[in-house]
């Protein structure tokens, strides 16, 4: 035992950096994570879980003399602090954490605690729960490098690490990077040429402005919000029936393109229906929280799934806007952060007063995007026609009683005969309406009179849709659900916000609107940080806080805390102007660096957390598909509308108790729309999107973990969607790429990568073309298949063999690492 203890102490002493350190230990960043990892579960805010009466998340409690006369922490006296003894002892009866938990602090972690106690054991509020502080731009080693305050923070950090920023990326790379980041599409050749030939010093800033104005901007950023909103075109669970809520998705795209300030954007999604004089668009916006799932299986208890939806709304709201895992407090007090289970249900009660209950209702009918005027006109005509018809139908309806007595039931369709068997006073409205409609249709005086109403209704359907919305009803009584079980009702609660966070704005009723106001309140320490961190994550691949979903004590501390706070305060200062903030980020010198990585640089910082180079990541599932269609000229620019069915391999299976899961490919340009318009079925998501890490969208997802798998290679090599793109690319190369092999190869590179080809590349592609052509020449049937399936016959005058061989080249171009990545 002694020997082992010595070995352990030796390890402590020999750990690099263990020499006495006068640098003050930062409680929030260094100490709290250690306490959270090893101690807080049993010695934290949760009274029920607390062991031995010891609480370590609160200074006063932690330094108190315990019932045994000992003290866990004695400020200034590590030797008297029992916590250190317990963490390092080999006595299995007293060691902490208990061995069975399988956790043990490292010598370095023990050393940090020791220093912290020696320095007085000072506690501070967890950084994320304290308001952001706008620090002045720090001094840097090279004042000529920064282009805006972001760069001061980045370079100051690099200076501290004795690293240098990378040189600026070349202009081709930079424009493609910015276009992919801001619009999800590469620049067109014309855009690239315009930028390259623009010698003005602000050429890049203007190019960024132009990108931010493109309608494709909203489509690109909507994809991020669809993950947050757990959007789907189906209801989930076993039957997974279709859902019509795409009009909310269209609202989202438009709101992003209109650059709705983030505070308004937030308020409208959470509580647009409660705004005074709410417009239809503001009501549509509340579809955000109607993306929860329904269980339509026979015998399912509606209340159970309604409760689950409310839980999901609480968790999603706190996650998406405040990076807070309040979800942990659903079944018990939060083990690590200062949230109680009661507080969880106080927020729950805010959401527990909407009309929906495990079904699609309520919905509203609204014009499709851009059809507002047509809808208004048709609605008025329809109302007039309907009124006229109603007047006329009264007479016909007055004859129905006689008809019912006289009609031969055996000759009626079965459903109508069944209705007739029900006594008139017991029929449901739907039954009565069905009967009335049938009777009218058979009546000689009726014939043709409803033609106007039918025609106008059909025309209205063409310019409108229904969509799911939130609707407030009288609040349901809410109680703490014991252990999170909806039937175990504990203490009744009323709306409230967690005491550890900022208070609700005074004079505000705490309904959904009040909660939204609390979320976007300038004193909320989390909302702006979480939002800017998410934008940063989308651009740089990793957030300044890597755990973008968790800013609480269990999350990772920010890599650049002052930069995060500067961005958060800047966002608010700019009036929550998202496009403006994105412009600040993408015009920084940090963003404009080359992403080429040296061996040494990679070893030091594989994830580029220090930002000594520009961003680089594999494109998202959506961008990969959209880019392939765009560069080959197939992509439809048509925005908005019902979900589409691009090519999907036959599955040959029915849904459980349901119809076939296969779909017919959409006709015309709808087969080639941007990926975000693809019908999203939760039980069977589009296969190539799932292969590239799109979440199933059953719950809110704050970041996609990008993977790199052989299944992905099979998608971009062989999926008919990508083969079709390669064929179309081949045809563009043949018609627009000049007459020589070299000019054609170079043209292909320029189309796909938005940059000139090197000579080596041209030669390699030309060689591939020739090898492919001679291989295919022997077998015209193979060549024809490769050039035309599935795209269709080549244009008149085009050589099929050429088209086939360029298809092979196009397939390679679409699979280049540079193509698949943003560099």
């Amino acid at each position: 035992m002694t020997l082992l203890l010595c070995a352990f102490l030796f390890a402590v002493l020999s750990e690099p950096g263990s020499q006495p350190d006068s640098r003050p230990v930062d409680f929030s960043r260094e100490v709290r994570p250690i306490l959270a990892s090893y101690c807080i579960r049993c010695h934290g805010p949760d009274e029920k879980a607390r062991k031995g009466g010891l609480r370590l998340d609160d200074r006063e409690a932690a330094i108190r003399t315990l019932s045994g006369g000992n003290r866990a922490i004695v400020p200034g006296k590590p030797g008297d602090s029992e916590i250190l003894e317990r963490l390092t002892t080999d006595d299995v009866n007293s060691v902490m954490p208990p061995r069975k938990l399988g956790k043990r602090p490292s010598p370095r972690e023990v050393e940090i605690l020791e220093q912290w106690i020696a320095q007085g054991a000072r506690y501070t509020t967890h950084w994320a729960y304290a308001p952001p502080v706008r620090a002045p731009s720090p001094a840097v080693s090279d004042p000529s490098w920064p282009r805006n305050p972001i760069d001061h923070f980045v370079l100051a950090r690099l200076d501290r690490e004795k690293l240098r920023p990378s040189p600026a990326a070349d202009r081709h790379t930079l424009l493609r990077r910015a276009a992919l980041d801001l619009t999800g599409l590469p620049p067109s050749s014309e855009e690239a040429d315009r930028f390259i030939n623009d010698a003005a010093p602000d050429a890049y800033e203007r190019a960024v402005d132009a990108l931010l104005k493109k309608p494709s901007y909203g489509e690109r950023w909507a994809a991020m919000w669809l993950d947050l909103a757990r959007y789907g075109d189906s209801q989930g669970y076993i039957h997974d029936p279709p859902r019509t809520i795409w009009r909310w998705r269209d609202w989202l795209i438009q709101a992003l393109n209109d650059n709705l300030p983030y505070d308004r954007f937030t308020t409208e999604m959470l509580a647009g229906d409660l705004l005074p004089g709410a417009t239809p668009a503001q009501v549509v916006a509340t579809g955000f929280h109607r993306n929860t799932t329904n269980n339509t299986e026979g015998g399912a208890n509606g209340e159970e799934y309604r409760h689950a939806s409310v839980v999901d709304r609480v968790n999603t709201t706190m996650q998406a806007w405040m990076g807070t895992s309040l979800a942990c407090a659903q079944c018990h007090n939060h083990k690590y952060d200062p949230f109680t289970q009661k507080e969880y249900y106080q927020i729950f009660s805010v959401f527990n007063s909407t009309a929906d209950a495990n079904g699609e209702d309520p919905t509203i009918e609204v014009p499709r995007m851009g059809q507002e005027a047509a809808y208004a006109g048709l609605s008025a005509q329809f109302a007039r026609a309907k009124q006229k018809l109603d007047e006329e139908s009264q007479w016909v309806d007055s004859r129905r009683g006689d008809w019912e007595k006289a009609v031969d039931r055996a000759r009626l369709p079965k459903d109508l005969a069944d209705i007739l068997a029900v006594p008139a006073e017991k029929r449901t409205k739907a039954q009565a309406d069905a009967l009335a409609a049938h009777h009218r249709s058979t009546h000689p005086d009726w014939s043709g009179r409803d033609a106007d109403v039918r025609r106008l209704r059909a025309e209205l359907d063409g310019v409108s849709t229904t969509t799911l919305v939130m609707k407030e009803i009288a609040p349901r009584p809410t109680a703490v659900a014991i252990r999170g079980e909806y039937q175990s009702r504990g203490e009744p609660v009323t709306p409230g916000v967690p005491a550890a966070l900022h208070p609700a704005p005074s004079g505000v009723k705490l309904d959904r609107l009040g909660l939204a106001k609390w979320i976007v309140d300038p004193s909320n320490p989390l909302t702006a940080r979480v939002a800017v961190n998410r934008l940063w994550q989308e651009i740089f691949g990793v957030g300044l806080v890597e755990t973008s979903e968790e800013f609480g004590t269990q999350g990772e501390p920010p890599s650049h805390p002052e930069l995060l706070d500067w961005l958060a305060t800047e966002y608010v200062r700019l009036g929550w102007d998202t496009k403006q903030l994105l412009k600040v980020i993408v015009t920084s010198a940090a963003y404009r660096q080359s992403s080429v990585v040296g061996d040494a640089s990679y070893q030091v910082d594989p994830m580029n957390r220090l930002l000594a180079r520009g961003p680089r990541s594999r494109l998202s599932a959506e961008a990969l598909r959209d880019q392939a269609l765009f560069v080959s000229g197939l992509l439809s620019a048509k925005p908005f509308g019902p979900p589409v069915h691009p090519y999907q391999p036959l599955n040959g299976l029915a849904a459980a108790f349901g119809p076939s899961t296969d779909w017919e490919t959409s006709k015309g340009e709808d087969a080639h729309r941007r990926a975000l318009y693809t019908r999203w079925r939760r039980n069977l998501p589009y296969p190539s999107m799932i292969a590239f890490d799109v979440p199933e969208r059953a719950v809110c997802s704050m970041r996609r973990i990008r993977t790199n798998t052989p299944i992905q290679a099979l998608v971009t090599l062989n999926d008919p969607v990508f083969i079709e793109a390669a064929q179309a690319l081949a045809r563009r190369i043949l018609t627009e790429g000049g007459a020589t092999l070299e000019s054609r190869a170079a043209f292909g590179v320029r189309l796909v990568l938005s940059r000139p080809a090197s000579e080596a590349e041209t030669h390699r592609l030309a060689a591939l073309f020739q090898a492919s052509r001679s291989s295919l020449a022997a077998d015209p049937a193979r060549a024809s298949a490769l050039a035309t399936r599935p795209l269709g016959p080549v244009p008149a005058g085009m050589d099929v063999l050429d088209a086939a061989a360029w298809t092979v080249v196009g397939n390679v171009l679409l699979n280049l690492d540079e193509t698949l990545a943003k560099r």
């Binding site: 990892s37 269980n295 807070t324 080429v596 997802s701 291989s775 690492d817």
Partner: protein, 481 residues
């Protein structure tokens, strides 16, 4: 006494390993491209278990719909005796049933003939003659129960540990995340669906949930490409594909003087792996390579899309080191709404192909010495009621409603006591009376046999450590050898 890295670091590190930049199947290829040491970052690299494993692989036979356990395994003479009598209200009161209203239900004795089999004397009905012959290889649990009486939630609970579509990883994803895979030319988690329908849990049954997507089950299909997009486009033969991958590799090489980005190196390796998969998988999925006597034993036919073929494929995959093979078979929901849902003669017909294939699978694994290192588990998401289903009580076909309160399953393979029966139900087969086993206990036991502690197999998501068994689950020690 080596200090363990704290869990926090373990999963942080794991998460970093999964970054695209450092993620590589085919670590050797990557290492040679980088000219350095092999990186320890292969998500499928076999990982050490928490403690010595009893089995390496799992074949999970999921009978979607809930087979009528009272007509297959859980013999209740008392129920036969009281056939047609009212079901005691004390049993059904306050309990939800999917298609039967409370009160006025009639007890339904089994129309099947039961006899005892093997040294262990297991009761098995005449609907399962082949399995009856190998009863001493099987470990029965007759005290299984669940919380859910609807298919969707019950199957989700079984497959993902939570009865909702909540973005949780499936059983097979947890296992491949925890243990990696033995075969780098194949996915570690492969799924087959038979019976013409997706299972009730939908794709969540093999989804990766919040785990990285490398761990999602790969659904192998019996028509078209066995794995989606496995086949080169029409007109592209193997040599042309090889030529294009060679060009791709050359073009992906960095500019002179620039080092290759590790992510690029990984991607090149993935393309090579995909190329190998294109050759290996079709061969593996081709059951015509099996001798006639094996095909005959399983009842498999080359080219057919059947549960029997899938059982045979499961063996072929396990033989190649695929960690987790999940079979879903649709059509075990015996309500009695039509002839195919009748638990009389029809049940014998319905069971025939399954009985034959499962018995052949277990025997085949045993002959090859694979049964000791494989766990075969057969079960539905819930049992069926001892009373006749309410809607169809007056109809021509006899059926039973969903029953969450008791069920029978069996397992076979390494680490188990073969030939035993664990747990029991009351004389009517309504409630468990002895050694209750919850769905989470099955999950915990499955992980245990694979060498994993279900309380330590965790993944951090949304700021919280999640596990398959949530806060429950106990290993069923009594059935372990």
């Amino acid at each position: 006494m080596i200090p363990q890295p704290p869990d926090r670091l373990v999963h942080q590190t794991r998460r970093h390993f999964l970054r695209e930049g450092s993620l590589g199947l085919g670590g050797v290829a990557l290492a040679s491209l980088l000219g350095g040491a092999a990186p320890a970052d292969d998500p499928f690299a076999p990982k050490p278990p928490h403690y010595p494993a009893k089995v390496k692989n799992v074949i999970f036979l999921s009978m979607s719909g809930g087979p009528p356990h009272l007509d297959l395994f859980d013999y209740k003479p008392e129920l036969v005796k009281r056939n047609g009598q009212d079901c005691p209200a004390s049993l059904t009161e306050g309990k939800p049933f999917a298609f039967t209203a409370a009160g006025a239900t009639k007890l339904q004795g089994t129309p099947q003939k039961f006899t005892q089999h093997g040294q262990g004397g297991a009761w098995i009905s005449a609907a399962m003659p082949r399995l009856a012959e190998i009863a001493d290889e099987l470990t029965f649990i007759k005290s299984m129960y669940t919380d859910q009486f609807n298919h969707g939630p019950a199957e989700l609970l079984l497959m993902t540990g939570i009865p909702r579509t909540a973005g949780r990883p499936s059983l097979g994803s947890w296992v491949t995340y925890g243990l990696g895979s033995e075969n780098r030319d194949l996915p570690g988690f492969i799924v087959f669906v038979s019976g013409g329908s997706l299972p009730s849990a939908g794709k969540s049954g093999w989804g990766n949930g919040f785990l990285p997507s490398v761990y999602q089950g790969v659904q192998c299909r019996t028509g078209g490409d066995p794995v989606l997009y496995l086949t080169d486009p029409e007109g592209m033969d193997r040599s042309l594909r090889r030529a294009s991958l060679d060009a791709l590799k050359d073009l992906n090489a960095p500019k002179p003087g620039e080092p290759i980005h590790p992510e690029t190196a990984t991607r090149i390796a993935q393309y090579e792996l995909a190329f190998r998969m294109q050759m290996v998988v079709p061969e593996l999925m081709d059951v015509s390579r099996e001798p006639a006597r094996i095909l005959e034993a399983y009842g498999a036919q080359p080219g057919a899309a059947s549960f029997a073929n899938n059982c045979l494929l499961a063996r072929r995959l396990v033989e190649k080191g695929v960690r987790f093979v999940q079979l879903f078979d649709w059509g075990w929901d015996f309500h009695g709404t039509k002839a195919e849902e009748d638990i009389g003669e029809n049940l014998i017909r319905r069971c025939a192909a399954m009985d034959r294939a499962v018995a052949a699978l277990i025997q085949d694994l045993k002959c090859r010495g694979l049964l000791d290192e494989t766990l075969v588990i057969w079960m539905g998401e819930f049992g069926r009621t001892p009373f006749r289903e309410g809607r169809t009580a007056a109809g021509p076909h006899i059926g039973r409603d969903h029953h969450p309160f008791s069920n029978t399953l069996f397992m076979a393979g390494g680490g188990l006591k073969p030939g035993i029966t664990h747990g029991a139900t009351d004389e009517l087969g309504f409630h468990v009376t002895e050694n209750p086993v919850h769905v989470h206990d099955i999950q915990a036991t499955l992980l245990h046999l694979l060498g994993m502690d279900h309380t330590r197999l965790t993944y951090r998501f949304q700021g919280r450590d999640f596990r398959l068994t949530d806060v429950q689950g106990r290993v069923i020690k009594q059935i372990l050898a």
